[in-house]
């Protein structure tokens, strides 16, 4: 009885050991291929400029990007805008601009004019107004409090 148990235990442990070593390998591999900033930009550019992308995927990509600790590069913003053009959703394009502006955080004074300067040709080409042109850089409408309804 004891011998069989010990034998089983040994096999089980050998199994665990084997699994562990292969897992370590996998983890090391993941850490080894760190994505550079250029690759990251390219990946998202490619994502947004894919033929046949739909509104659902665009929103997913934008929400993902705006949830990360990055300011999207002008190239990504442009390809996002073009994706909005392909699905005919100007509201989404403006929301995307707003989200990118918000990502500039404390550096809105320096970063945002730079982004705007870089993407202006695309905005002109597509006919998307900037947030300032629409007056959306400042609150336009106030919501009634739900407690006053």
């Amino acid at each position: 009885m004891l011998r069989t148990t010990a034998g089983k235990l040994a096999t089980a442990m050998r199994g665990t050991l084997g699994v562990t070593s292969s897992r370590v390998g996998a983890v090391r591999c993941l850490h080894g291929t760190e994505e550079s900033a250029e690759e990251f930009d390219k990946r998202y550019e490619k994502y947004f400029s894919r033929e046949g992308i739909d509104g659902w995927e665009i929103r997913k990509g934008m929400n993902d990007l705006l949830g990360m600790d990055v300011v999207p590069s002008p190239k990504i913003i442009e390809s996002g805008l073009r994706a909005c053009r392909r699905v005919n959703d100007i509201a989404l394009a403006i929301r995307w601009l707003e989200g990118c502006k918000d990502k500039c955080g404390d550096h809105k004074a320096t970063l945002y004019p730079y982004l705007l300067e870089k993407i202006t040709p695309t905005l002109k080409e597509l006919g998307v107004p900037t947030i300032e042109e629409l007056g959306y850089d400042k609150p336009e409408l106030a919501l009634k409090s739900v407690f006053d309804m």
Binding site: G55, N63, A91, R95, E98, L126, G127, P129, E133
Partner: protein, 182 residues
């Protein structure tokens, strides 16, 4: 027998109720689809629920804010063409059909802190007034032992009794010269 009777009565009751709550527990109610009317589902949202909220960190919610009506449908047809032909009003109308608030509006201060500060100060003032009035009208005079003469006598007694001579009060008293150590 009695149990069986109760059981069958319960079943009849349930059967009578069921048609009214057919929506409850259905697939539509699980995904909150029974609440969005004709609104278009355009994204994944939070946990896959078809809900709407304006958030700066997740700007594109799962559903469009307004249900499509004739006006918006006409605008959407126009949106298919050149965007340069859309007037700012039309663009704003399209935006507000998709979203409730702009991000600037989401982040605008509500001024609610003033109310909270005001209420806090009202209660602080009330507490101070209560303390003052209690001292004036409720509490007795302080006991006689609080005057300076009694306090000095108490200190002398503590020194005489050598209270806490290692680290405390009388460790600082020089008993040979009868004065405080420097």
């Amino acid at each position: 027998m009695a149990l069986r009777l109760i059981n069958s009565a319960l079943r009849r009751q349930l059967a009578a109720q069921l048609p009214h709550n057919a929506q409850v527990g259905s697939v539509a109610s699980v995904h909150t689809l029974d609440k969005i009317g004709k609104r278009e589902v355009v994204g994944f949202g939070w946990n896959g629920t078809a809900c709407y909220a304006d958030r700066a960190d997740y700007p594109m919610p799962a559903v469009r804010f307004r249900e499509p009506n004739n006006e918006i449908t006409a605008l959407r047809t126009k949106e298919q063409g050149d965007w340069k032909k859309l007037s700012p009003q039309e663009i704003k109308a399209l935006y507000r059909a998709s979203f409730c608030q702009t991000i600037a509006e989401v982040q605008a201060g509500t001024g609610e802190w003033k109310m909270h500060l005001g209420i806090g100060l009202i209660f602080t003032a009330a507490a101070i007034w209560i303390a003052v009035l209690m001292n004036l009208f409720v509490y007795d005079e302080l006991p006689v032992t609080f005057d300076e003469e009694h306090q000095k006598a108490q200190l002398k007694r503590m020194i005489d009794l050598e209270i806490n001579p290692v680290t405390g009060l009388t460790s600082k008293w020089d008993y040979e010269n009868n004065k405080w150590k420097n």
